[in-house]
């Protein structure tokens, strides 16, 4: 499991405090589906997800955004052992949803861009480095049950 300094823990909490789960949850799907459009293959039953306007009004995506960010909240609150806590989620994505794990990295990038837009200069280089270290650990945890 990844080791965290007190400073890194403080930085992650500081970033997370500024995240409005509803707001960020919607915007992150808009970025992921517009910038990496092949991701729409996982959302066949979600209705219209093909323009930014449609994505931001789509209730299923809004709900899923909340689910994803609640899972990230779990990681923020359990920085020392979320890898084990994520095992069932990883297994679900591998066996049931059959998500190509490269998409975890792409979604993480979209989360970082969304947060950069929100935090602006507060996402300075040191904060960015710590935040990306955290997301890398989350991506690794999501990959953990893939064979």
């Amino acid at each position: 499991m990844v080791k965290w300094t007190e400073e890194e823990r403080r930085i992650i909490r500081g970033v997370w405090e500024k995240v409005d789960i509803d707001e960020i949850g919607e915007e992150l799907w808009a970025r992921a589906l517009i910038v990496y459009p092949w991701i729409d293959r996982y959302f066949g039953s979600f209705g219209d997800i093909f323009t930014t306007t449609a994505i931001l009004k789509n209730p299923k995506l809004a709900a899923l955004g909340k689910v994803v960010l609640s899972a990230l909240d779990t990681a923020v609150k359990n920085m020392d052992n979320f890898k084990a806590m994520y095992a069932p989620l990883s297994r679900q994505h591998y066996e049931k949803i059959k998500v190509d794990p490269d998409n975890f990295r792409l979604l993480a990038e979209c989360i970082t861009i969304t947060i950069a837009c929100k935090l602006r200069a507060e996402l300075n280089p040191q904060v960015q480095a710590t935040w990306q270290k955290f997301l890398s650990a989350v991506v690794e945890a999501m990959n953990s049950q893939y064979k």
């Binding site: 517009i34 910038v35 970082t112 861009i113 837009c117 935090l119 602006r120 200069a121 280089p125 960015q128």
Partner: protein
């Protein structure tokens, strides 16, 4: 041959028109060196990069960031021929500088984060992000193209 929609061309020229190459370039290179510290190995002649403060205050980092970011102007002005426009620069990075081409993608990511942080969500919309990242991906591909 890369195809650009009118919306994508407009997004690129709009963003480029608002980008200060000195500011964005310096920030992007600082982030590359801080977030991906192994990249410091390419900058042995830059002096002190041993701490965060040293990197942020390093004049050679600032200057080189500006140089790299200014290099994107070639792509903005030659959007339909980026591959050929960067052929010589690609050879130089491969044969003289020995830069691992994976670093081009990493630096492109850093540039995108800096642009997002600078412009915020009303300018750096999902549509603009798509065009910008596609643009950078084409540049990254062109820079890696002359590697054997």
């Amino acid at each position: 041959m890369v195809e650009w929609t009118d919306a994508e061309r407009q997004a690129i020229t709009t963003l480029w028109g608002q980008i200060d190459v000195g500011e964005i370039g310096q920030q992007a290179l600082i982030r590359l060196l801080v977030v991906y510290p192994w990249t410091q190995r390419h900058f042995g002649a830059f002096g002190n990069l041993s701490t965060y403060a040293a990197i942020v205050g390093n004049a050679k980092v600032a200057q080189h960031g500006k140089t790299v970011m200014s290099g994107l102007e070639t792509a903005v002005k030659n959007m339909d021929n980026i591959k050929n426009a960067y052929a010589k620069l690609s050879v130089m990075h491969s044969e003289k500088l020995h830069v691992d081409p994976d670093n081009f993608r990493t630096l492109a990511e850093c540039i995108s984060v800096v642009v997002a942080a600078k412009f915020g969500p009303t300018v750096f919309t999902p549509g603009f992000q798509e065009a910008w990242q596609k643009f950078l991906a084409v540049v990254v591909s062109a820079l890696g193209r002359q590697y054997h």
